[in-house]
Symmetry: C2
DNA sequence: CTGTTAGCGCATTCAC
DNA sequence: GTGAATGCGCTAACAG
């Protein structure tokens, strides 16, 4: 069987308390004793059992991340930021991938009710008041990333400003008929960013004295193929939009496929703007609204670590900057 | 404080043993007793402590995954397959992202030495004999995915066949000067697939009576930008290759950028073949060698679960099929 | 400074 | 069937 703290204690001729002390860097140990214990630990190749440690400490020493759709590049980027910082800490990282509302609810409930984590990061998914109440009751620190709730700490961007930024860019190029492709505004997941960006889009239109045409707004499942379909619909309208703002880069790529399908050149016949600035955006030469994805993950963990240290921290809302990145998919509209 | 098994026992007027029995589906409980206990559990909203459970069971109830470069689409796909199956099991999934050889070694050692997992999946990273010995000694079941070691269970593809498939396709189209862009053949990570695919590439050339020209093979860090550079070098050769086979789709996209940079049309002036068939391959119309990425993850977990159940399982090597997917980046070479 | 002891919450023998 | 006792490996409080 594995070597335990007792084996070390016996072999070193000390008590388990002392071994524990050197293990945890307690200064109340005579240097020579410490050396002896350390030597025995090395000799026996002893590794403290994290599980026993957890039970005794009454901490799980793990951080959970609940995120939808692992495979989306934007989520992966955030996860990367998270993993990088967690790896440097003493915590384990356990991940929960959510692809259905049922699974989301199950995760939201069981992860904290079962006391499986010391802290939780929730990406993109919007918790209900009920969820928040349960978490508070379980005293589990939670940080929201790319989603929000008034009672919870969060790291976000200004989605309204993002939608506004993209749309104004198109307007300044001379576009008057601008489409918007988004995720479902009302669906089981209750994502909020689509709605906020729509708001920014509408606001930019209004500022330019342009009407909001509901038929220029399409919503559907996230994904390139679905976006392609929506763009098809949009581009068959008469008059058709001369520019399309997509809720994400992935969807923007779908729009570009649709344009190709219909023999429209980008940007000569159709301008396209995405959101996120994932790696493929650069490849595709996509004009987009950049948000610091990995940074949101890092900031989230930093916040969480601090919060676990001091649960009384006043609710923080860190907002990260966004930025328009102009590449090759936007240009003035074609002459009518 | 959280409610424990003792609270439930007291409230239900039974012993903790009985509560434990109903919790674990032990049949030796009178139905009415079971009902009563269940009712109290519900009433008290009791959740067994997974940590105490682990300590008592002497199992961590967690599965670890060690993988390099989380953000690579191919890795993400595999992870997705893994997560999906683990979520259905009683195990937690903890992930270790490796971006340096040092970190790899640290993970390889500490994860099993520290008894942090009941089973381990290693993706892409090649373990040394030393690693394997340590793992065997710790009695930790390990499954290799997309990498191999004679003593370990693994799920792989035939990389030699893959390289052969891609190259033969180009040869059949009439190409005679075919480049190959790969990861470093000799580097700290000791990835083996590049070497195997090179072998298949060389074999296909030989079968067609074509010489292997070392200057047509470039190696470098993985990544689109690096591949772009390598392709630049290749395409400035005289005579330049009329086709390039890239070790991965990501790198193939870099090759396509290089072609664009140099004013070469794909596939008219240059044919490109990738590997993996990640989602972007379809977008880019990339001809590629498809491997069932998510499936490798699923198969890996299946194997691991079985292995944890019966450690004496004879070493398994499951090989998944690959397939050439012809799209729009390959065509006959230009007339000289 | 250091050894001893009492939990942490659950599973698992044993007796009854 | 069921309850009481023991141990999983470690930390922390308490004596010395």
């Amino acid at each position: 069987m594995a070597v335990t703290i007792y084996d070390v204690a016996k072999q070193a001729g000390v008590g388990v308390g002392t071994v524990s002390r050197v293990l945890n860097g307690n200064p109340n140990v005579r240097p020579e004793t410490r050396q002896r214990v350390l030597a025995v630990i090395e000799e026996l190749n002893y590794h403290p059992s994290p599980i026993a440690r957890r039970l005794s400490l009454r901490k799980t020493l793990t951080i959970g991340v609940i995120a939808p759709f692992f495979t989306r590049p934007s989520i992966v980027e955030r996860l990367r930021g998270i993993e990088a910082l967690v790896a440097e800490s003493d915590y384990d990282l356990v991940v929960y991938n959510v692809e259905t509302p049922e699974r989301r609810d199950a995760c939201f409930r069981s992860v904290v009710a079962g006391h499986r984590v010391d802290g939780l990061i929730v990406i993109h998914l919007a918790p209900t008041d009920d969820d928040v109440r349960r978490w508070a009751q379980a005293q589990t620190p939670v940080i929201l990333v790319d989603t929000r709730h008034p009672a919870l700490h969060r790291v976000v961007i200004d989605d309204v400003a993002g939608g506004h930024l993209a749309t104004r860019h198109l307007i300044e190029l001379g576009h008057r008929r601008i489409g918007y492709i988004s995720d479902w505004l009302d669906e089981p997941f209750h994502f909020t960013s689509s709605r906020d960006r729509l708001l920014g889009y509408q606001r930019a239109l209004a500022e330019a004295g342009l009407p909001f045409r509901p038929e220029y707004h399409r919503q559907g499942d996230h994904g390139r193929e679905q976006a392609r379909q929506m763009a098809h619909d949009l581009l068959r309208l008469a008059p058709r939009p001369t520019a399309i703002f997509a809720h994400s880069d992935t969807q923007a790529l779908g729009v570009m496929q649709a344009a190709a399908d219909l023999g429209l050149r980008v940007p000569e016949d159709l301008s396209v703007v995405g959101f996120d600035d994932i790696e493929m955006a650069e490849y595709a030469g996509l004009t987009t609204v950049r948000q610091p994805l990995a940074e949101t993950g890092r900031k989230g963990i930093e916040l969480l670590l601090r919060l676990m240290d001091d649960p009384s921290l006043p609710t923080a809302c860190v907002e990260l900057p966004i930025e328009l990145v102009v590449r090759r998919t936007t240009a003035p509209p074609p002459n009518p």
